[in-house]
Each structure stands twice: as structure tokens, then as C-alpha cells.
Symmetry: C2
Subunit: 227 residues, 2 copies
């Protein structure tokens, strides 16, 4: 270890992108300093660290140039701290498939939740929910293949896709409650439903996700900013 | 080597995403079978290989499950054939920065070219061109830092960012000709301009990019499909 205290993470609690980094830091037992950002009034450190996107998470390791984008940060951590709880498999083909599905989750799955939020009216939301159901069923298939009968996408232990999708669970639960429907259920996604319960109680994740009050406030802010 | 004949690449010549894979295969002197796809009538092999996005490039290595998405494919090739012309640096921090800028090029820089195409009228296009100039100047800065006085983003030899941006040069030249303006010039981006000439004549790229006639046809098809 030794490197652990040298890590600063700029983030905000309701961001599942930030939570991914926290989850991996926890899995690898790396100590870090969390610098809480107010996204309505971004700090000088955030603006100079990420002048292109001006977004969290930002990871600063030993005062070296900042590392940006959640997937890039967790892959960096996995490369630097590869001996402790590796999250990406060592086989290049499996690594490629992990990256593909993480990318699918970020560019296809999550945007459907955003579309659900923006779409007005019950009928409109129903249409988006149908697409969400299809996407969730696809992820169920991915889980069955990846886990190979074991507990996680990563097999016996939490892996890359577990981190990426797992950190979104607080939001999924929030969306379920808000819309009075289920994203994961016994019929369409029985294995993923079991997985959600398993990963939800994982010690390393518990510490990384925020409560529903913070999510409610954050959601309200989103609704005001981008109606 | 030995593995070289076992590679099949499903692609189409005017796609700079496909060209990236060809460029890396050439750099690493890997033989491969190119399967030309007609995107107006996609093959059964493409549809079953990439049922999610139904897009090229698709790489099939030794009849194993297909690998999808250009950046994921070239990273896979770099991991499997790591002894021959590595394209990603070995330092985790530098790797992270390479991934960040590749991601920037794909999600911020290229979409500006798409916006330019879709925006009607000279005044509208001028506005997009202004954003493109700012983005190109940013890439000039990245080049200066990354190349450290050497020939390429990757230093003495072609690296990850060179591949990602380099394969787009045919399109950039096409857009310059079509709109009668320059994307890279002596004033705003002098170093990148030199780099374009250098990489344009690189043996491994020459073979990977198609002529302007094919681009003209492809562009015309895009204009019809998504006006």
C-alpha cells in the first residue's frame, strides 16, 4: 500500500459515476480524501482539473495530473493496484466483453432512465419503460453468461460490470418508487433481481452510495435544470 | 505470430472506425481477412455478431466470440499482440490520458463534424466551425504535450491517439474541400498540420483509408438518410 493516502477524489454523493470510483477504492482498501463538490458552484480545483468537461469524478493521485471519467479512473486504479481485488479479468477477450457491456450500460441503458425522466405523460413513459424492460432482459442474459452460475458478473467476486451497474442501484430503486413499477423482477430478470439484493448488501458498496433523501434533492434539481 | 490468419474483420471502407482496426493490424503486421459489409443490406454474420448495435467494425479472432467497438477492438489487439508495436503506453497515468483524449475525440470532436453536416446555411455552419476551431486548438495543445517534441502523439512512433485521430484524416480532408475551409492550418494548429502530413504518408495508414470517391458516395448516402 503506502500510496493510499495520496489519493484525492473530487465528487458528489448522488453521482453513481463518483460512486463507482468509491466502490473500487473500497474494494481495494485504498484510503482516500473525498472532496465534496457543489455542482452549482464548482471549485477552482475542479475547473482547473477538468477544464474540458468540468465534471466529477476527478481523481488526483500523488499530485500528478488529474485522471478523468469514471471508467477510465477505475481502470487506472485496477492497473496501479492490480494485486488487490482485480476488477477486470486477465483474459483479453473477457476484458473486451467487460468493456463492451460497461459501454452499453453507459451509452444505451442509463440514457433510457434519462429519457424516462424527460418524457411527459403516462403513455409516453410506458413506451420508454418497454424499451427499459428489453434492455434489462438483455442485461439478465449478460449476467447469466458472465457469472457462469456464480454470484456476480465477475464470477465469485465483484468485477467491472458489477461496479458499473451496481452503483446505479440506488437510482434504480429511486426510479421504481417514483414511477411505481419494477425495473428488475422475478419474471423478466430473476437472476439480476437476486444479484441486486446481493450487491446491495456488499460492504464495499454500502459505504459508497448515498441515501434516498440526497437522491430526491438531486432529482428535483435535475427537473428544474433540464425540464 | 501464427495467430495472424485467424482474424476476420467485418467492415466497410469509408468507416474511420473500421480503419482504426485496419491501421493497428497493419502496424502490428497481422494478416487478416476483410469481410466487406454492405450497410444497406447487412450480412447474417454481422447481425448475429453484433445484435445490440448491428454496426461495424466486428473482429472475430480464432472463431471466438466477436469483439465489438473500435476502441475496444484496438485495445484487445494491443493486449494480445503486445510485443509488436504497442500503441498504448505502459505507464497507467499516460494510458488513462490516452483513453481520455480518444474518448474526447469520439464524443466531442467528431460529433461537431456531424453537426456541421446537419446544420443548414452558411451562418449556421460558421457557428459550428467556430466550435470546431476551438476543439482543434485544444487537440493542438494535447499534441504538444503528448508528443513532447517528437513526431507523433505517441512520441517517436504512432500511438493510440494517432490511430484514433489519424483515421479520421480522410474525412477531415473531405470536409475541408466540401466547405472550402481548413480544419488544421499554420496559424491555429501548426503542429497538428505537420502531424497530418506525417501520418498521412505513413505506410500502415495508406493501406487502411479509402479514396475520396468512396467518401463522396458515403457522404451522399448519409445526406439522404439523415437530412
Amino acid at each position: 500500500m503506502g500510496k493510499s493516502c495520496e489519493i484525492k477524489l473530487l465528487g458528489t454523493a448522488p453521482s453513481h459515476f463518483v460512486n463507482r470510483v468509491q466502490f473500487v477504492l473500497n474494494l481495494k482498501s485504498i484510503e482516500y480524501e473525498f472532496i465534496d463538490e457543489n455542482l452549482n458552484c464548482k471549485s477552482e480545483l475542479l475547473l482547473t482539473s477538468n477544464p474540458v468537461h468540468k465534471k466529477v469524478p476527478v481523481l488526483i493521485h500523488a499530485n500528478k495530473p488529474p485522471i478523468l471519467e469514471s471508467l477510465i479512473i477505475i481502470e487506472y486504479l485496477d492497473e496501479v493496484y492490480h494485486d488487490i481485488h482485480p476488477i477486470l479479468p486477465s483474459d483479453p477477450l473477457e476484458r473486451a466483453h467487460n468493456r463492451f457491456w460497461a459501454n452499453y450500460i453507459d451509452t444505451k441503458y442509463f440514457p433510457l432512465f434519462e429519457e424516462l425522466r424527460r418524457t411527459p405523460g403516462i403513455e409516453g413513459k410506458k413506451e420508454v419503460k418497454k424499451q427499459l424492460d428489453e434492455a434489462s432482459e438483455l442485461l439478465e442474459e449478460v449476467f447469466v453468461k458472465s457469472s457462469n452460475g456464480k454470484a456476480y458478473f465477475g464470477g465469485d467476486d465483484v468485477g467491472y460490470i458489477d461496479v458499473v451497474l451496481g452503483c446505479f442501484l440506488a437510482w434504480i430503486k429511486f426510479v421504481e418508487k417514483l414511477n411505481k413499477f419494477k425495473i428488475f423482477d422475478e419474471v423478466r430478470t430473476p437472476k439480476l433481481l437476486e444479484w441486486t439484493n446481493r450487491i446491495w448488501s456488499h460492504e464495499a458498496l454500502k459505504d459508497a452510495i448515498c441515501g434516498s433523501e440526497a437522491l430526491t434533492n438531486h432529482y428535483a434539481m435535475l427537473q428544474i435544470k433540464k425540464p
